[in-house]
Symmetry: C2
Subunit: 275 residues, 2 copies
Amino acid sequence: MDTLKGKKVAFQGEHGAYSEIAATSFFPDSELIPMRLFQDIFDALRNDSIDCAVVPIENSIEGSVNEIYDLLLDADKKITGEMFLKIEHCLIALPNSTTITKVFSHPQALAQCRNYIKRKNLDAIPTYDTAGSVRLIKEKKINDTAAIASKNAAEFYGMKILDQNIEDRKNNFTRFLVLSDQQTAPSKSDRTSMIFGLKHTPGSLYSVMKEFDHHKINLTKIESRPTKEKPWEYNFYVDFEGHIEEDSVKRAIKNVESKCTFVKILGSYERGTIN
Amino acid sequence: MDTLKGKKVAFQGEHGAYSEIAATSFFPDSELIPMRLFQDIFDALRNDSIDCAVVPIENSIEGSVNEIYDLLLDADKKITGEMFLKIEHCLIALPNSTTITKVFSHPQALAQCRNYIKRKNLDAIPTYDTAGSVRLIKEKKINDTAAIASKNAAEFYGMKILDQNIEDRKNNFTRFLVLSDQQTAPSKSDRTSMIFGLKHTPGSLYSVMKEFDHHKINLTKIESRPTKEKPWEYNFYVDFEGHIEEDSVKRAIKNVESKCTFVKILGSYERGTIN
């Protein structure tokens, strides 16, 4: 991804957000641009005011990020990369904090540290954002409150880390996707993501899966989202091993297309590794 | 469900919540008990301090309620009923309100009225709850702010309805499930919900779906949720037409069991109708 050196890469959240850590590790030499909403990122990709974006697609404990699935349906860029980030939460406060009685963070981060918060007898207060909670405590000089966020957020705002790895479950990973208009050549370890709509007949999902099985294509994920057009009709999102330029994948997609109302290939990309 | 007359039925939220409207229409003569969290409801079902609960499982626009899926995994009661409620949002204010410049509601309700809010040039402020926003405006006597909530919430708190049916999309329905330990005999129109875990081999999901297809059982929904035990392993939730006491369903389940790490039948129940 050398061609992205010095280019603009967007992420959702504030400086110190887990999305920024993912973006930095993928594009160490790029200009990182924080954006408030996922929608802002997809708008910026569409009008080419950024070159690329890094967005979370699923967490190993919380599951899929539904909003990203919905936005991918109309996205005009491809998925061109994937990475997995281990989520390690810190308890962060002002350098001169007093006794901590309250803790701010995003509801998901609070949920992921529930046992720790209970053990320390803290009052959990949900906020908009993990890194944003650190900023809030710094700006308002709140002495009796800590935030749960990344180590990077503490460093960015010059705050003190009171405790590390406070998450209840250690197998906490988030999978991030890279969106851009780069071309990705097949590697030896690729994944392809696609969306399809089913004809409204019994067994139609099964008939699609049969095509993948017939071509020995291994599905790694299946997810459904409401079409929003007609109640209780869904679009299906699948990930599978292989690259769209491989013959067996091409043949499978061709057969799948004949059984669907539409097919959209989101991209083929090298699979990320879990460190 | 006559045996539930006068019994305790729990719902999540405050009086006037859409869940309360669903519970009332299903159990008109029961004592309705508001509870703050979904977790509280499942705890109360477990210790038998309530007889029954009505919970939302999916919305036709927003998709599944992930937390309910996760709680069903460990639930000790069965799904014994289903209903669909049309979601009709109202703009609600104090009877003596001044010019409205702000609007409070749950983020999902705000999202569902996005065009309306934009057209009226209101400042959208996310809160914990729809009906709770009505209560907040009443209690704090906030003159310049309206809430988005149900007609019932306006009536319960004696507030004024400024506008009705303000949702952007009219096909907005929520599907609710009834949880209890009642027995449900087969009707002519049943649905069964179950969870299963897959062996970690390629094509294992396909082999399960093949069994349903072989027994001519029509799947109406498939959903995956992280196991939370091991990253990127999922439990699958399926709904299909038929009752667990029917022979073809029994045979299919028996074969599915041999291909899974576990199978949990969540219940068979008469399908709800969309009014």
